[in-house]
């Protein structure tokens, strides 16, 4: 097992062993699956190959069904967890396993309405294929890590069957196109799909590292250079009641940023 996978398993284990995070993760998986299903349904209408369209329509229905499996399981976890979910301390546990962090690309999301138009059918199916392979791998890990929670495990077991089908039908279409002399198109599509996932992960890592570093520096400032200012600011009384409006600096009141 490589280091990345080791860290991923550790993080996932921590999430699945905590009822609050488990609930939130299942709920956000449901949202992601539902969005994916809707986007696939929209994409299916844009697909010209009738056979492929049927597969993508079924894929869309699967995603919607997964959403409802996750949602039902989330409700069950919520009921099982009971009072734990209403404690204020739990409200601060911010992350789950499904979504990218705010402002980032969805960590699981790989579909977007209109993408089939923009990319063309081959590139689109390449992207689906790569995404489904990753999803199958991810869900297998979740299945392994939820042995202590048979209800959640059963959901992953059910979904993994569908994932096999999704990988299989996308793979068959790629083979078919290869057989029709579109080998190069398929190869480039797969390369682009893998590349965009890698670049996305690399960008996320870069942005998170830079943000973490900057925040660490700011924390140090807060606890060192700014302490006297903090003590001074504490003496300021932020008064209630009516205050006169602030007078902007300068001749033109619209000029100043203060």
């Amino acid at each position: 097992m490589n280091t990345g996978a080791w860290f991923a398993r550790r993080r996932n284990r921590a999430v699945w062993s905590d009822p609050v995070r488990r609930f939130r993760t299942l709920q956000s998986f449901a949202e992601t699956e539902e969005d994916g299903g809707k986007d696939l349904a929209a994409a299916a209408r844009r697909i010209s190959d009738p056979d492929l369209r049927l597969h993508i329509e079924r894929h869309a229905r699967d995603e919607i069904r997964h959403a409802s499996l996750f949602r039902n399981r989330a409700a069950a976890v919520r009921d099982e967890a009971g009072a734990a979910l209403s404690s204020s301390a739990d409200g601060g546990k911010a992350y789950d396993l499904s979504r990218g962090r705010r402002g980032e690309l969805d960590a699981h999301g790989f579909y977007s309405a209109g993408l089939a138009d923009e990319m063309g059918e081959v590139a689109y199916v390449c992207m689906l294929h790569v995404a489904e392979l990753c999803a199958a791998e991810l869900f297998t890990m979740h299945y392994d890590l939820t042995a202590h929670d048979p209800g959640t495990r059963a959901v992953f077991e059910e979904i993994l069957k569908d994932e096999k089908y999704h990988v299989s039908y996308t793979g068959k279409f790629l083979d078919k196109w290869r057989g029709e002399g579109r080998e190069r198109e398929v190869r480039e599509g797969l390369k682009a799909a893998r590349g965009s996932r890698f670049i996305g992960a690399w960008q996320r890592l870069g942005a998170r590292s830079a943000a973490s570093f900057s925040r660490a520096v700011m924390r140090i400032f807060y606890w060192t250079l700014l302490v006297p200012f903090g003590l001074g600011a504490r003496r300021l009384k932020l008064r209630a009641g009516w205050q006169p409006p602030a007078e902007p600096a300068g001749d033109d009141p619209f000029d100043s940023q203060y």
Partner: protein, 563 residues
């Protein structure tokens, strides 16, 4: 004179273009990026505004940002330093954002818009809100009230509008903020602050104000109609992520976890009771503000803006029990509307004449030449509206998309979903069609202005707020019989009154529905799928239609059906 107003970095970023005092274009960034209430710098909305006026950035005379960034930075710095050491994490986050780009906003605006840096201006946040209310109103003079969450330091202002002048008389300062109180309780009840405040208003209808005394302490009355927040119960003065403190739980009990069941029924109706208590105390405090404003500015007219001006029940209470006779709330009283307010205020200060009354249709128009696949052309909008009326009368839930994109939170019949009001389950069917799962949410009811008196007790002076759907009104028995699912538990309804002169197409549709059903009433809601933004283009609408459970879609002069 061309002035571009910009709001950004809080929520619902927007751009608005005002030419010679008249709003020409305005749009929220979320409509283009599809991120609900997107706070990012509104590059796409700016592009749209310039395109609409067929000009480029350098042709703008001035660009105005809706707040004073350095004063806001001062507020953040002071409040987070005061909270040492509790604000360690929020401080690091704030500085990361501000040192990154917000402190260099003037350059950013000049660069993004393409204007010389000397043409970039700034105006106070609350003044932007006040201007959005007064300069769009039909009043030549008015008292102006803004009740908001936070801008720079001011959270509430008492102002006076007269002709081209807007004078602020007094303001209350952060952290004493009614808007932040509402945002905090929104988060406490498991909703998203800044997004879901309307849900609290709906939830309040299901509860009893048994926490009224607690809220009376949390937001105590202060001198001359002002108020004071008990800051020991809140973290919002220094933390934008987690807004309440443990002490609030001692007053209100355990919070609701996001996604957990809402406690709205006996024996535990805590969530509804908290919302109801908040609403009661909020109304009391805002009425006190109105009294104080009237004492300083004894006008018949009130213009109201800021985060709380979207609260329909509060607006109704101001009309019913406040000292003013007429009320105006702009199409968008919130952050996006402040972009338009900033541009109007600067135009007025530079001597531009005031525009005629507000129209919310300031967004992008549909392209009549471009139909999506599957469209059935009917030749003209009249024929399409006849089909729409027939389908609605037959019980279908329909989407209706026409004209320019509305600016503000309400679609006002331009990007709407509609259903026959007679069906007692109509509201539920309408929301199910767009995947809205929160069953306590009310839906709006549209009715023609000339028939309104038959169905509702519309208060005097409510004409503009009824047209812009900013107020609840008591329903008469006729409405209870004709549109049972639109009437709320307290006997009121969220009404949009449609004027034949201002919106002849919607009025005509209501009349046609009335001819077929006996009552010119339609249940309506904004055409947005659960969690998504309002549909913008025809392609968006068709896409949303196929994802929804709507029975049909009418876009201008064409229809779309399920295959």
């Amino acid at each position: 004179m061309r002035v571009l107003g910009i709001s950004a970095f809080h929520r619902d970023a927007a751009a608005a273009l005002v030419v010679d005092g008249t709003p020409v274009a305005a749009a929220q960034e979320e409509r283009f990026t599809k991120k609900r209430l997107d706070p990012a710098f509104p590059t796409r909305a700016i592009r749209y505004c310039l395109r609409e006026a067929d000009i480029t950035g350098p042709e703008l005379d001035e660009v105005v940002f809706y707040e004073k960034p350095l004063r806001k930075f001062e507020r953040l710095l002071v409040t987070q330093l005061r909270a040492f050491p509790r604000a360690t994490k929020p401080f690091a986050h704030t500085m990361f954002l501000w040192l990154g780009d917000r402190l260099w906003l003037k350059h950013k605006i000049a660069e993004e818009v393409g204007v010389p840096i000397g043409r970039v201006r700034f105006i106070e946040h609350q003044r932007s809100h006040a201007a959005s209310a007064f300069f769009l109103s039909p009043f030549e003079e008015a008292a102006v009230l803004t009740v908001d969450d936070a801008g720079e330091w001011a959270t509430t202002t008492l102002a006076e509008g007269r002709g081209r002048n807007l004078t602020v008389h007094a303001e209350t300062h952060f952290p004493h903020s009614l808007g932040m109180l509402v945002a905090t309780i929104t988060q406490f009840l498991g909703f998203e602050p800044g997004h879901d405040e309307a849900k609290l208003e709906a939830l309040a209808l299901l509860g009893a104000p048994r926490f009224e005394a607690a809220f009376e302490q949390l937001v105590a009355p202060d001198e001359a109609g002002s108020f004071a927040i008990d800051t020991t119960c809140f973290r919002f003065p220094f933390d934008a992520e987690r807004l309440w403190d443990q002490a609030l739980e001692e007053r209100l009990g355990p919070p609701r976890f996001p996604g957990a069941r809402l406690r709205t029924e006996a024996p535990d109706a805590r969530d509804a009771d908290i919302a109801a208590s908040l609403q009661v105390v909020l109304e009391r405090r805002v009425l006190a503000l109105c009294d104080e404003l009237w004492r300083r500015v004894p006008s018949k007219n009130l213009c109201f803006a800021g985060a709380l001006a979207t609260n329909r029940a509060l607006n109704a209470r101001i009309l019913a029990d406040g000292p003013f006779r007429r009320l105006f709330v702009p199409p968008d009283p919130g952050e996006a509307g402040a972009a338009l307010g900033a541009a109007l205020a600067l135009s007025a200060a530079r001597g531009a004449e005031r525009a005629p009354e507000a129209d919310a249709a300031l967004g992008e128009a549909l392209d009549p030449a471009f139909a999506e696949e599957g469209a059935r052309q009917l030749g003209n909008v009249d024929a399409a509206e006849t089909v729409l009326a027939e389908r609605l009368a037959a019980g279908a839930c329909m989407g209706w998309v026409r004209g320019r994109m509305p600016f503000g939170p309400h679609s006002l019949g331009t990007r709407s979903i509609l259903a026959d009001a007679r069906d007692p389950a109509g509201r539920g069917r309408l929301f199910a069609a767009i995947q809205e799962s929160e069953d306590f949410l009310p839906c709006g009811i549209a009715l023609p202005a000339d028939r309104a008196a038959e169905y509702v007790n519309a208060p005097e002076g409510a004409g503009d707020v009824l047209r812009l759907a900013h107020v609840v009104v008591p329903a008469k028995d006729a409405l209870q019989r004709a549109a049972p699912s639109a009437v709320l538990p307290d006997g009121t309804a969220w009404v949009q009154v449609v004027d034949a002169e201002r919106d002849p197409r919607f009025h005509r549709l209501l009349t046609r529905v009335g001819e077929r059903t006996g009552a010119p009433l339609l249940l309506h809601a904004s055409f947005r799928l659960h969690g998504a933004t309002l549909v913008r283009s025809e392609a968006d609408a068709v896409d949303a239609f196929h994802r929804s459970r709507l029975d049909g879609l009418v876009v201008e002069d064409r229809t779309y059906e399920r295959s």
